[in-house]
Amino acid sequence: MSRKPPEPVQVVKERRDAALARLAGSIPYARLLGVHFDRRGDELTAVMPFDEQLIGNPMLPALHGGASAAFLEISAIVQLSWLTLWEGMESGAPMPEGRIRLPKTIDFTIDYLRTGLPRDAYARARVNRSGRRYASVHVEAWQDNHARPFVQATGHFLMPPDGV
């Protein structure tokens, strides 16, 4: 009996990129901040390109703490939803119809480690626990040097009733 040939890599990539675009592109506030996501397999890196409108201290100049916080919160929410989407997608389940239901933030604690420079920022989120109802996520952002994060956060999230 012959095995099913593997799917062409381009088909797999397109399916994954479309799922990610649908998820990340659905958040108007992420668009306002210019946040987008790079994907390597299942690994996501959030990117917030520098823009004058993200400045909070024009004297230094430095990124607004609120812009950094929002960047981290967007990264955490997208990472959480992405995990659920990815599992469904890889198990061969059809993509959910209609809008993707996003987790809701319960609390978010931001730790400002150093000044956000007027440069692009990158973030990666790690889901420390993801239960049926609650999830705990840690997220860290850096700019020029990955070993020197400028802001990190931990948050708790309420998962949508029946997965994504």
Binding site: L33, G56, H64, G65, E73, R101, K104, D107
Partner: protein, 143 residues
């Protein structure tokens, strides 16, 4: 001289990110500041519900916390957020302006402590609360 509304309005007008989110100072006195942010579809975090993104509420409360520090009689010359914890009580009603109220309840030569609440039109139950620590530099106390 204590810094009042004029100072606060100039301060917020000089913040590009404050302008992006449409922040507007309502009150500023004795370590307390009030800042509002009108509803705008570009601030939406969840398109299914039209509820604004938590990050926009964080940005408002962070800015309001900083203003409350400048409103404190000890007259900080600079401040930066060290940490901020935000609890989201409920979804803000779509279409309604968010009002943040922050209080700087203690200030040392190096650190200021704030707590803040954010409301929509219902002023009985906050949309979110926050507490934070900010670094400060006081006039004539350069570290």
């Amino acid at each position: 001289m204590e810094r009042g509304l004029d100072f606060a309005r100039k301060f917020v007008a000089a913040l590009p990110h404050g302008r992006l989110l449409g922040m507007n100072v309502v009150a500023m006195a004795n370590g307390v500041a009030e800042l509002e942010m009108p509803y705008d579809t570009k601030l939406i975090g969840d398109p299914e519900t039209g509820v604004i993104h938590g990050g926009a509420v964080s940005a408002l409360m962070d800015t309001c916390g900083g203003l409350a520090i400048f409103a404190h009689p000890l007259q900080a010359i600079t401040t930066a957020t060290l940490d901020l914890r935000i609890d989201y009580m409920r979804a803000a009603t779509p279409g309604q302006t968010i009002l943040a109220r922050a209080e700087c309840y203690h200030m040392t030569h190096t650190v200021a402590f704030i707590r803040a609440q954010a409301f929509d039109d219902n002023r009985d139950l906050p949309v979110a609360t926050a507490s934070g620590a900010f670094s400060v530099e006081l006039m004539g106390k350069r570290a």
